[in-house]
């Protein structure tokens, strides 16, 4: 009887853990890309559809995060940030239109 109860309890906590995991997976996450020294850090980022990506500009001059036809931050001033909710699944290479040598990649999983 004690064993059975323990097993039942174990199953219950297992189910609870799985449930919590499922909830965590469903909840959209927020990811940060820091712009510093004319680099997007991290340069490559994988997110799930519905997640939020925040680009934070730590450089003393404005930058953009622009993926033609997908997203375009416009000028992000010094010390400011821009939020984007990832909607379109796929691989989106992006750049800073002011400094086109700055490149990044946003991968959005369906």
């Amino acid at each position: 009887m004690i064993i059975r109860a323990a097993v039942a309890l174990g199953c219950l906590s297992g189910a609870l853990a799985a449930g919590a995991g499922a909830i965590a997976a469903d909840k959209p996450a927020t990811h940060t890309v820091v712009i510093e020294g004319l680099k997007f850090v991290p340069e490559m980022l994988t997110v799930k559809r519905g997640d939020t990506v925040v680009w934070v500009n730590k450089d003393p001059y404005p930058h953009t995060a622009t993926a033609n036809g997908v997203f375009d931050s416009g000028a992000i001033a010094e010390g400011r940030s821009w939020r984007y909710i990832a909607q379109k699944p796929g691989e989106h290479p992006y750049l800073c239109t002011f400094h086109p040598n700055m490149k990044g990649l946003l991968r959005v999983q369906p």
Binding site: G37, L38, P60, Y61, T97, F98, H99, P100, N101
Partner: protein
């Protein structure tokens, strides 16, 4: 215009060779940095005013913003290090080249202005990048000054790529 850019390149080259014989000290490097930025700010202001293409105007505005930000960092560093920027052949040649460029641009209008400005921006950034790489970074003694130059490098490279894209789009 091509001649103008080439003369300008030659001036910088001569200046760079003169510098190569005797590497600039930190006070001279500080003066070169401040002058190089100021020259591009002056040209950018003119482009904001006289440019006919919206992208050319926007590029001019960006040059003013970006180079002013670098100069703000440079003057803060100069103050901190208690270095007095010292005039030298390279900074003098940059200054006179900048004055000459503005004089030439002032006589132009419309698409001719746009083309001349952007062509010069391409040549200018190429030369400045070369000078930073070959002369300024290797000569800088103070680590903070060296770092300022090293972070300036990708910025100038970004401007060069942007200017080249603009140059290609104006050519169409």
């Amino acid at each position: 215009m091509r001649n103008c850019a080439m003369t300008f390149a030659a001036t910088l080259f001569v200046a760079a060779s003169a510098v190569a014989a005797e590497p600039p000290n930190d006070a001279q490097i500080a003066s070169i940095v401040v002058t190089a930025n100021q020259v591009d700010i002056d040209a950018g202001k003119l482009a904001q005013k006289k440019g006919s293409n919206a992208e050319v105007k926007a590029f001019g505005k960006q040059m003013v913003t970006d180079h002013a930000a670098v100069n703000k960092q440079a003057s803060a560093l100069v103050k901190k290090l208690k270095v007095k920027p010292q005039d030298n052949p390279t900074s003098q040649s940059l200054k006179s080249g900048g004055v000459e460029n503005v004089k030439k641009l002032q006589k132009l209008k419309g698409a001719a202005f746009d083309k001349a400005y952007v062509d010069h921006e391409v040549a200018y950034h190429e030369q400045v990048i070369d000078a930073i790489n070959k002369t300024l970074i290797p000569s800088a003694k103070n680590p903070e000054l060296k770092k300022l130059l090293e972070t300036g490098l990708p910025l100038f490279q970004g401007h060069l790529e942007h200017a080249k894209k603009l140059q290609a789009s104006l050519g169409k």
